[in-house]
């Protein structure tokens, strides 16, 4: 595909997206509105044009944004439902490769902005769009080498109960890293 065609394709995509957002405005369920009054975008799940994937996230995996996302994850009580380190509790784990509503940046963004039926609140009207992208960046970092403040094992687990069986071989003590 020529560069010119590619640009036209991207432009068409953006127009389509804008039309979608505007279209929503007139419906009974307007899109979430950020604290500042600007509508939060609703993003297509796969932002690909002719097979090329475009990252919609303005922050992607920028380390500073990932760290900010970590802070916001606690600040907005995401940790209250999804666990201090995203391992799940009231809300599902964000560390495992299981995604009820899709794992792409856009899908995670939409889950945060729009809310989901089994109790996930709608945050789009409450927090700025850029912060949602930072949360997405943090969530995508979970379980990778880029994860800030990863979960550490309880200090004495292996010491206190040598009988605790492992999932692979019952009766075998589990060697677990000690927190230092």
């Amino acid at each position: 595909m020529s560069s010119a065609n590619k640009h036209i394709a991207v432009l068409l995509f953006l127009i389509a997206g804008a039309t979608y957002v505007i279209g929503c405005h007139s419906s009974a369920n307007p899109p979430p509105v950020a604290a500042g009054g600007q509508p939060i975008g609703v993003y297509a799940p796969n932002s690909s044009v002719n097979g090329t994937l475009y990252h919609l996230s303005p922050v992607d995996d920028d380390p500073v944004s990932v760290q900010d996302g970590r802070r916001l994850f606690v600040w907005y009580n995401c940790s209250g439902c999804h666990g201090t380190h995203g391992g799940g509790a009231i809300g599902p784990s964000l560390r495992d490769p299981v995604w009820r509503y899709g794992s792409s940046d856009a899908q995670i963004f939409n889950s945060i902005a729009q809310g989901r039926p089994q109790g996930m609140p709608t945050w789009g009207a409450k927090i700025p769009e850029i912060q949602i992208w930072e949360l997405v960046a943090y969530i995508k970092s979970l379980g990778t080498s880029r994860e800030p403040d990863p979960p550490l094992e309880p200090a004495d687990e292996a010491v206190n109960n040598p009988l605790q069986y492992s999932s692979t071989a019952p009766g075998t003590p589990i060697a677990r890293s000690r927190r230092q």
Binding site: V74, W75, Y76, N77, G80, C81, G83, T84, H85, G86, G87, G88, A89, I90, G91, P92, S93, R95, D96, V98, P117, Q118, G119, M120, P121, G143, P151, L152, E153, P154, A155, D156, E157, N160, N161, P162, L163, Q164, Y165, S166, S167
Partner: protein
Amino acid sequence: MNQFTQFRCCWLALPFVAASVVTFAQAKPGVGMTTAISGALADVHLVAPVADGQWTMPAGDYGNTRYSPLDQINSGNAGNLHVVGKVSTGIFHGYEGSPLVVGSTLYIVTPFPNDLIAIDLTKPGFPVKWRFHPNPEIDAMGKACCDVVNRGASFADGKIIYNTLDAHTLAVDANTGKQVWKTQVGDLQNGETLTMAPVVVNNIVFVGNSGGDFGVRGALTALDARTGKILWKAYSTGPDSDVRIGPDFKPFYAKDQGKNLGVSTWTPDQWQRGGGTVWGWISYDPELNLIYYGTGNAGVWNSDSRPGDNKWSVTIWARNPETGMAKWAYQIEPHDSYNYDEVMENILVDMPWQGRMRKLLIHPGRTGFVFVMDRETGELLSASEFEPVTWAAGYNLKNGEPIRNPDMVPHYGQYTEHICPSATGAKEIVPSAFSPKTGYLYIPAHNTCMDFEDTTANYIAGTPYVGANVRMYPGPGGYQGEFIAWDVAHARKVWSIKEPYFPVYSGVLATGGDLAFYGTMDGYFRAVDDRTGKVLWQFKTPSGIVGNPMTFTGPNGKQYVAIYSGIGGWMGSVDFPDVSSSDPYAARGAVGAMRDIKSATHPGDFLYVFSE
């Protein structure tokens, strides 16, 4: 009505004659007096009637003994127990309560979406008579801290009365399965849910709320069983008028005396988000005309941020059922620092205590102590450790204060390590049983410890309000669960069965057949000799057991024992795919202690019924 009624009459005749003889000797005769039970130890009396063939309330009896005199299944034939019925509900969450049996119908309340299922006990295979769908709000699932559980129902005035997770109480006609009334009791959007099993006294329904991890203000609500109308509401925090404290309030200890302690023991306004929710069991003493219940953790978990005693979180209450006015209160752990909800069962027994007859309230606590109290006055008679405890060395019986270990107090920004028991407690909400024949309390116990760090918490209505990082692990001694026979009179362990891998997270049933029944998180259901602790029989159910065993007499005159098999609840939720095993902090820190459950069992939706 039928064969069953006739049979019950015959069955009931003997104990009832005995009951009336005893009660006639006292002031007023009738149901509700404490009574001698056939075969009981000398001078050990229970609140009558005990579960006598039916099971019409959550514990089977007002005294919460979970003792049934039925003895067709006994220590001589328990080995013959076998499955005679199995029901699958199609809903895979934690089954924490027990079914009811009224007449010839068995009633199941499922976890969310809280369907009520009526099972016909007169027909082979126990077919479904009807199924009622209350259709609660689905976003309630996101307001329930510890799985979307429900702990059961009560039967009263021809109706099955129970709660839905979205903070409604409803009554369903026990025969037709049609809804009679439905009342909103709490505010779901602020994180208030209902998980407990209501108890009904003289057509007054008692409902306590959940949401102690959402900054909910704890409350007990009384409703009219006939109409669903709210009669009164007693908050656990706030001014005395809201807490229903008046001139009759006589707490035993100075620490619990004073005006408006529900306000003055908090930083300004924190009491409005102060927890003390009421999600456990309720007992009733008809002679003293008092109900008893406990309140949950103080909100927020971060205790550095709320200096003061934080009344009335973690407190045992005695109240008048008609007016809701408090008679006494005893705060077990002032300034809760560990999420020690003391909503556990309060077991009512009249028995000799250190040489004189006392009306006891026995409370095996999350804090790791068995509390024995005088239920007329609220005096603490004894507090004895039943699992490893590091947060306190014991209790000062003179002033009712715990003797705290200052090294175990959590603070902001650093982990305090080796706190025992963990936030899930030395036992959870799952209830003990008491047998008047042995004088033993049968405790389903945990040996789990934790590291705990206070953190910043923002209050955002309808979202969790925790402010703590917690990670749990098995306590010392090479076991994590223990089924304990506890000699109440001597405050000591008589025997126990240690479960190496998981806490004991099922309730207990004690019977006149010299048996105690309990289940394990990896799915075994056991009948144990109640004097020796010998396991006489066990059966492996497909899922983990977090429910309460119960027993009843069927329409054919046979005794049955029933148990749910469906893992869940706080620690059991680690088994769900939604919780990652790679993060010890997940499920509020329970994964650190429970991750191996994923390979031991899987979620289930079963009721099993056994007979010999």
